[in-house]
């Protein structure tokens, strides 16, 4: 529920409560009205008040019948007038007096002025008559007595008649009153019922509106949930896209890096002046720094996508710390700092840890410490945390510039590096600490910091690294490792990129191994089928058939060729790719750029011996930048050897005569599409050889030929031919062309 809908909800509740209360009251009122009506009707029925009129009428009738009987007895002149018939009539008359002469009758008839005297007259008559015709007569009924009684009875006739009428009137009045009361009650009942109906309608309306609100809220929630899940999917796909982008970018960035660093390694092996050597050193340092930053960014992306996995294995901790010490000592010394490394004796030598990631954390913290310490020392201390086995504490303490509390709070955040001034002074991407802490947390530990401005900093890494038995000797040995069987290897390189091919050929040549190249997976599989190799270096991303499929295809071959060692070669260093490569049957993975020492080590493990440094061909060129692309040519020279380049160049110029005559034919006959295709082919060949002028003019011809009603092509063809001749002359004058030397043909 949103905060602004709460008052609305409570208003609703108050309304409901009010309506409910009113309804209850109205129901009570209706019940009361109905009970009153029942009382009215029941009371009148039970006490037969309405029957009083009838009783008076009966009394009057019996009075007349008694009077008649008495008259008849007098007229008959009977000797004993008190006959049984008279007796009966008298008794009945008396019995009819009872129902009108009692307390309730007094209450009802009290307002009638005739009632009391008439009753008193009647009682007087009965008292007189009882003396002669009562239960126990005191004297016989004689005619004179009868006459007297008749006379007295006559006096009763008018009052009794009045009473009869009065009672009737009273009855009508009462009926009218009761009807009035019933009508009133009915009216009230109807009013209450109408009121109830209205309340019920309101109640129903409120309930309905609440129900609708609930429904709407549910719909809103459902829509929100749908939107959220869609947003989540979108975010996830965006994140995936980012990961793919990063992987691609890493590939794209590492490929030129491969070339750059490789060329620099090769360049270092050539005779250089002190100045050139210094420049090269700086260039290599910059490139290495850039590579470090690139690796940091990749680590971050892997940590974010959860693709970074910690792989714990038995690690010689003492040796690891020694290695870190050795590397960092150089850095520290170059800044004039002392590096102390101490390790408590309780710390086990062999622990279960991911050595690479542990080193990464320690390097990070130590280089930070060195970076932010102008003078003094840096101390790496390894000890048991709280003297508790299995929990290790690595402390990196420096006497550097330190941090205030605010900086300490932010120091593990991305791109935060002290403040802006220190950032400018010290450089770096500011990702190191975040990566270190994320790695420590991945390992089940954490990093904390304690520092004060100007008093140095202390970073403490707490990691659960359980002690393990040292692994059995030789268990970690790489398959095929045999240092005694050092020899030149037959290496199959599957690589689609021509520059990489050229570079690898040069490196392998330098290492004294023989290389055969395949441009895609399919060619690689065919090569393995046809020829014996010692090892396959397999690029993972290739056209036609990629490295994974090729590896699987090779593994499916009959032994022993199906068991050939395959090393994945890729700029894409993601764990997923590694896993996929392993699943495809590849033995290990070499991350590009593969430097000469790495390749040497790798091949040595598979039984190859290095032929040692080979003197690179020296070359110096000069002018002709507009006509030829010197960079390409030099790269060719450096990686392939000038002889091979000369061979390629010679074959290009040899075939150009045929090409030109074909071009002239097509231009003459007006087959513009043929001209276009031939010009395109010429351009491609010239491009790979670095013949810039030829590239330029064949492109001009190609474009002109592509325009259907375009300009005349003949002049363009003439220019192109002239440029070709100029280029050949230049190449010859530069000494590239006539030098023909024997060598292995490049596929």
């Amino acid at each position: 529920m949103t905060p602004n809908s709460r008052p609305e909800g409570s208003a609703h509740r108050i309304w409901l409560a009010l309506i409910g209360l009113s309804l209850a009251l109205a129901l009570l009122g209706t019940a009361y009205v109905q009970w009153r009506q029942y009382e009215l009707l029941d009371g009148s029925a039970q006490y037969q008040n309405d029957a009083l009129g009838w009783s008076f009428f009966q009394l009057e009738t019996e009075h007349l019948r008694l009077r008649n009987e008495m008259q008849r007895a007098l007229n008959d002149g009977a000797a004993a007038p008190a006959s049984a018939e008279l007796q009966l009539r008298y008794d009945i008359f008396v019995s009819r007096l009872g129902p009108v002469d009692h307390d309730r009758a007094v209450q009802i008839m009290g307002t009638q002025s005739v009632y009391a005297p008439a009753m008193s007259l009647a009682r007087h008559f009965v008292r007189n008559a009882d003396r002669y015709i009562g239960d126990t007569p005191a004297a016989p009924l004689t005619a004179p007595r009868l006459r007297e009684l008749l006379a007295e009875l006559d006096t009763l006739s008018v009052p009794l008649h009045d009473l009869s009428l009065g009672a009737s009137h009273l009855l009508y009045e009462r009926v009218t009153q009761r009807n009035e009361a019933v009508r009133l009650q009915s009216k009230r009942g109807i009013a209450l019922t109408v009121f109830q109906c209205v309340l019920l309608l309101i109640f129903a309306f409120v309930v309905l509106s609440q129900f609708r609100t609930l429904l709407q809220r549910r719909q809103r929630l459902e829509t929100l949930a749908e939107r959220l899940s869609a947003a989540r999917l979108e975010a996830e796909s965006a994140s995936r896209a980012k990961s793919v982008f990063l992987a691609n970018m890493s590939h794209e960035i590492r490929t030129p890096f491969h070339g750059l660093l490789g060329m620099m390694s090769l360049l270092q092996e050539t005779p250089l002046s002190t100045q050139q050597s210094g420049y090269l050193h700086t260039a290599k340092e910059s490139a290495n720094h850039l590579l470090a930053i690139l690796n940091d960014i990749l680590d971050i992306s892997k940590l974010e996508s959860g693709n970074l996995h910690v792989v714990p294995e038995p690690v010689d901790l003492a040796r690891l710390v020694r290695e870190v010490d050795a590397l960092m000592r150089v850095q520290a010394r170059s800044k004039g700092l002392a590096l102390h490394v101490t390790m408590d004796t309780e710390v086990p030598r062999w622990v279960r840890a991911d050595a690479t990631r542990l080193k990464q954390i320690l390097f990070n913290l130590l280089s930070n410490a060195v970076k932010f310490t102008p003078s003094g020392h840096v101390h790496l201390k390894v000890e048991l945390a709280d003297k508790e086995p299995g929990q290790l504490l690595f402390s990196v303490i420096d006497t550097g510039i330190g941090m205030d509390e605010e900086t300490q709070a932010r120091v593990f955040q991305r791109f935060v590096q002290g403040d802006d001034t220190t950032s400018r002074r010290h450089g770096g991407a500011g990702l190191g600490l975040e990566i270190s802490r994320s790695l420590a947390r991945l390992m089940g530990g954490d990093i904390t910091v304690s520092s004060a401005l100007g008093e140095g900093s202390g970073f403490r890494v707490n990691l659960p690294l359980p002690e393990v038995e040292p692994p059995a000797q030789g268990a970690a040995a790489t398959p095929g490792a045999d240092s005694t069987r050092a020899r030149a290897l037959q290496v199959l390189v599957a690589e689609d990129h021509p520059v990489n091919r050229a570079y690898l050929e040069a490196v392998l040549d330098k290492l004294g191994h023989a290389a055969v190249f395949a441009e895609n997976g399919e060619e690689a599989v065919r090569a393995v089928q046809a020829q014996d190799f010692d090892i396959v270096l397999m690029d993972l991303h290739m056209p036609v058939m990629d490295g994974f499929a090729a590896a699987r295809a090779i593994r499916a071959l009959p032994l022993p060729r199906g068991a050939i060692p395959i090393v994945a070669l890729t700029a894409d260093a993601f764990q997923d790719s590694q896993e996929l490569a392993r699943q495809a049957g590849m033995d290990e993975m070499l991350t590009k750029p593969a430097h000469l020492p790495q390749l040497r080590d790798l091949l040595a493990r598979y039984g190859g011996a290095s032929a040692g440094p080979v003197a690179a061909a020296a070359h110096s060129g000069d002018a002709g930048g507009d006509i030829v692309d010197r960079a390409t040519v030099e790269q060719f020279h450096a990686s392939l050897s000038p002889q091979k380049y000369a061979l390629l160049l010679a074959s290009f110029f040899e075939s150009h005569g045929a090409t030109m005559s074909r071009l002239r034919d097509s231009v003459t006959s007006g087959e513009r599409s043929a001209t276009r295709d031939q010009a395109h082919a010429l351009k491609g060949a010239a491009l790979s050889l670095g013949l810039r002028a030829v590239v330029e003019h064949s492109e001009l011809l190609r474009r002109a030929a592509a325009d259907a009603p375009g300009p005349a092509l003949a002049p363009l063809l003439d220019t192109l031919e002239r440029q070709l001749l100029i280029t050949r002359d230049l190449c010859q004058s530069l000494g590239w062309l006539p030098a023909v030397a024997p060598g292995r043909t490049v596929r």
Binding site: D42, A45, Q46, Y47, Q48, N49, D50, A51, A84, E85, L88, D91, I92, V94, S95, G98, P99, H102, D103, R104, D135
Partner: protein
Amino acid sequence: MTALFRSRRLALCWTLAAFLASLPAFALDAPTGKVLLTVSGELRLRNAPEGAAFDMAMLEKLPQRSFSTRTPWYPQARKFTDLLLAYLLDDKPMPVREKGPLVLMFPFDTQPELRSAINYGRAAWQLKQLELR
């Protein structure tokens, strides 16, 4: 004397059906005392030209029950003893002056549904004749 009894034309089929159902349990002898009630109509058992005539002795032989009830005609509750036709009021025979000798009385107090003008009207006094229809 029977002629002196006040007669009320009553349609009492529902009560008489039950009343007469019990009649065969008694030998219908000729009344010896004053006839208090004559039942006329389609009767199989007859002891008089009009139908079945009962005197007090015969009525007393019928199964009896007593109940007290308030009525519109007495200020307080009174006890009636009857089969269906009450002949004792507060355990005493009812003279004519007391609306006797037979009255048709309903237990209004124990059966509130009887309390209606129709049933108060059916409570006949000085009953002398019943006609079965």
